[in-house]
């Protein structure tokens, strides 16, 4: 039994933000039925990575990761029958998650006002780039756009380049903006579920990706409005002083020396070199002022060190110093292996796939892969026949019509 096994969810979403929200709830035990368009299915099926780079609807890494633990049906919601079936499914569920454009949702008659008339207890979570209203609400967005408009990109790059102001704001790798939107959607959904427990009334959750992300750069906002500061990207900005991404013989490390204690201990790790006793580095203010010089000296020492030994020595003295891993090192990490972090799924069509597991360990309701991501339309019979009472013949007709 999972923490949320009492909840039934219909996930009517595309790509990442909707499906990740669905995944989070599914991973916590909710029953999630994923609704995809017949034929192509969710866009993430074409995204990859694919084994040997050969695109295949059932083998996209992104799709497989995002959609474990869900049931899958196909429905052409633009058709009359398809829309009816989707409405039926929603009426039987507690939660509807969707990430379509507000206009499309309204045109299809799936807006909250309409759906809640038939189902007053419905919690509907709408995840959109800018929200359901406002001057930008119709704007098109994708992860890059969301990432940059939220200001997440503005603080990057923060180091490692000669002149930050020569470089454009740098997006993060992987589709963080979309993931964060899905995660925010999940927590907002749960809030609505709680509200419903108290009153029996459902709720509409209007999740604006822009808003959810804008809250992640808030120190910029505080700086701007409280201190009246202009936070331009400068090399001397917080993360780049008193920290160092350094090169060892056999890898890279990241060390944080932003307290007197860390610095003193780090100096010990380096074998108490004479240069560290200079007044240039005698206290935090001096070190911040002269950090470029300190970096050069540290880098000179580090280049001959072994990464493993350096990290162990630092940790023995309680200095926050850890490796800069590629996913290869991370995948082979003893620590993550000891925690059984990675999960594996094995199915005929796909073979064995290993991927990051749940980032939490619940003591009473532990996570597990109950089922791998559904094949396109895999549970049409189970759901449409089993729960809605359609016959197999009905399904055959629907298939012929392109409804499923």
């Amino acid at each position: 039994m999972g923490a949320l096994s009492d909840l039934k969810v219909i996930e009517w979403g595309e790509f990442i933000s909707g499906p990740y929200c669905g995944k989070l709830l599914a991973d916590l035990g909710a029953e999630v039925v994923k609704v995809e368009k017949p034929g192509y299915g969710d866009r993430s099926r074409s995204y990859g990575p694919f084994p040997q780079d050969l695109p295949h609807t059932e083998k996209s890494g992104l799709y497989l990761y995002l959609n474990t633990n869900k049931l899958g049906v196909t429905l052409n919601w633009a058709s009359v029958t398809g829309a009816e079936i989707l409405k039926e499914l929603v009426t039987q569920a507690d939660i509807l998650i969707e990430n379509h454009s507000p206009r499309e949702v309204e045109e299809l008659g799936f807006d909250y006002r309409t759906l809640s008339k038939a189902h007053p207890g419905l919690v509907m979570t709408s995840i959109t780039p800018f929200g359901q209203s406002g001057p930008y609400h119709d704007y098109k967005a994708c992860d890059l756009v969301s990432f940059h408009v939220s200001g997440l990109a503005h603080m990057n790059p923060s180091g490692g380049v000669d002149d930050i102001q020569e470089e454009p704001p740098l997006r993060g790798k992987s589709l963080q903006a979309d993931f964060l939107a899905g995660l925010s959607g999940a927590i907002a959904t749960m809030s609505a579920v709680f509200a419903r427990h108290a009153t029996g009334q459902g709720r509409h959750v209007d999740l604006s990706q822009h808003e959810a992300l804008a809250s992640v750069i808030r120190r910029d906002l505080g700086a701007a409005t409280y201190e009246g500061l202009e936070r331009i990207r400068v090399k001397g900005a917080q993360p780049s002083t008193e920290t160092l991404l350094g090169q060892c013989r056999d890898g890279q490390f990241f060390v944080v020396c932003n307290t007197d204690r860390f610095w003193a201990n780090w100096v010990e790790v380096m074998g108490n070199p004479e240069w560290a006793a200079s007044e240039l580095f005698q206290d935090r203010a001096a070190r911040r002022e002269n950090w470029d010089a300190a970096k050069i000296m540290i880098e000179e020492w580090a280049k001959d060190q072994s990464l493993g030994e350096l990290v162990r020595a630092a940790q023995a003295r309680r200095v926050p110093c850890m490796p800069v891993n590629t996913v290869k090192e991370s995948t082979n990490s003893e620590q993550l292996a000891a925690r059984n972090y990675f999960a594996e799924v094995d199915r005929e069509e796909v073979g064995r796939v290993r991927f990051p597991g749940a980032p939490y360990k619940l003591s009473q309701t532990p996570w597990q892969v109950q089922r791998p991501a559904p094949l396109l339309g895999e549970h049409n019979e189970e759901v449409l026949c089993g729960r809605l009472g359609y016959s197999r013949q009905d399904l055959a007709v629907m298939r012929a019509e392109g409804v499923i």
């Binding site: 800018f130 923060s158 992987s174 808003e211 409005t225 996913v327």
Partner: protein
């Protein structure tokens, strides 16, 4: 239509606030916060915004990172731990009590508070609460259905779990920093922000809510062990799977995409002004060209297909930059969006404060603080139309010690005085 209700409260009287908050989803849930920095506090703040009563356990003997006198941008000559806008942002709306956990009597107070609470959030170092007997196993003795989420960097188990980590170590450790940067530079740049802290915060809040849901259904509490590095890795699935499935290590590629061009942040008029543009297919390309007025260069055959645009990316970027350089970032966004092309101005803090979309949604609220005066804070991030949540002001350190001890725990004035004299309430 979204209710535009925005309410800010002065925490004059906790009972009044309680009454006002009674319509909120998490009303009646009390959470103890053993937190520091961003990740733990952010989790608590989200729960607080939805009506939970969150009590931060602080001490003057060991200030939160963000309460410590700041060296970088000191506004006043005298550092004051109640004048930190960072602390205020992450801890807006919570109560603050000052208790020295190193003292036995301090720990007893916490245990008494646990009897009246539902859950706790912990992002202290792995050994800290354990050493005080205030970890989940200790607190479960006090209240059998208690819920706790611990969110250390590496979790609560494993050979390295007692390692010392800061937020900045998480991205390099998870493999995210390695792929964040420019291809022609040997050192990855990583991020100046702390996305992983926020990620961890939101996930922890979700965990608490799921655990409360489970407890309400079954009567059982539970312990959630959330390693922040594992959290960071969950949003990198493609990078991981390319390695586990294909044995391939992805490299840094700046702002480029293997699937789309134009793609990236293009310099606009003014200093440090950029607009992000993504053209994903031929349809968007045609719209893009139309938005530019169909200049002759856009009709070159080499730009006509996606593959062609990717192959000639550098030249394409140059051309686009020529166009964007003569327009403001907001103009570029407007013109392209009108044509149906995904584009967004890169907004900095000031822009966010003035953004019309965010203003429409009431994302930022003005809150008055006894020592810092009026400033803008992010409001409730995730909005329910009927119960939009309440953004309340940040507390002064230890502001609610008297209230919690007196009203909640029922201590007499004499008892409180004794604790003060014994230096338990510092």
């Amino acid at each position: 239509m979204l209710s535009a209700l925005r309410v800010s409260y002065e925490l004059e009287n906790p009972k009044e606030v309680k009454r006002a908050m009674s319509a909120l989803p998490l009303e009646g849930i009390r959470i103890i916060s053993f937190t520091n920095g961003i990740a733990g506090p952010y989790a608590g703040r989200l729960l607080c915004d939805f009506g939970a009563e969150v009590i931060v356990v602080e001490t003057r003997k060991r200030l939160d990172t963000f309460r410590r006198p700041r060296l970088v941008y000191p506004k006043d000559t005298e550092p004051d731990f109640d004048k930190s806008w960072s602390w205020a942002e992450y801890n807006r709306g919570k109560m603050s009590i000052s208790v020295d956990l190193k003292k036995e009597e301090g720990r007893e107070l916490i245990k008494r508070l646990v009897e009246l609470s539902d859950a706790a959030i912990d992002n202290f170092g792995a050994r800290v609460l354990r050493g005080f007997g205030l970890d989940y196993w200790g607190l479960r003795e006090v209240k059998s259905d208690f819920i706790m989420v611990s969110m250390q960097g590496l979790g609560q188990t494993g050979p390295e779990h007692e390692y010392v980590l800061w937020g900045m170590n998480l991205m390099p450790l998870a493999g995210l920093t390695y792929v964040w940067g420019f291809p022609d530079i040997p050192t990855p740049t990583g991020s100046g922000g702390y996305p992983t802290d926020y990620l961890a915060g939101v996930t922890a809040a979700l965990m608490i809510m799921a655990a409360v849901e489970y407890r309400n259904r079954t009567g059982k509490g539970q312990f959630i062990d959330m390693a922040q590095v594992e959290n960071a890795a969950t949003i990198m699935e493609s990078v991981y799977m390319d390695y586990t499935v294909n044995g391939r290590l992805q490299e840094r590629r700046g702002n480029h995409s293997p699937y789309a061009a134009p793609y990236g942040a293009y310099p606009c008029m003014g200093e440090e002004r950029w607009c992000a543009i993504e053209v994903r297919n031929d349809d968007e390309w045609r719209r893009f060209c139309g938005a530019l007025g169909n200049p002759p260069w856009t009709e070159e055959p080499r730009f006509a297909t996606v593959l062609g645009r990717l192959d000639n990316r550098d030249e394409l970027d140059r051309r686009v930059e020529e166009w964007t350089a003569n327009r403001t970032h907001l103009e570029v966004m407007e013109v392209l969006q009108k044509a149906g092309v995904p584009a967004a101005a890169v907004l900095d803090g000031q822009d966010q404060a003035n953004c019309p979309q965010l203003a429409h949604r009431g994302t930022y609220v003005r809150i008055d603080h006894p020592k810092m005066g009026v400033a803008s804070y992010p409001g409730v991030v995730m909005r329910l139309a009927e119960s939009p949540g309440v953004a309340r002001r940040p507390a002064l350190l230890g502001e609610h010690t008297a209230y919690v001890l007196g009203e909640l725990l029922g201590l007499s004035e004499a008892e409180i005085r004794h604790l003060e004299e014994a230096e338990v309430l510092v």
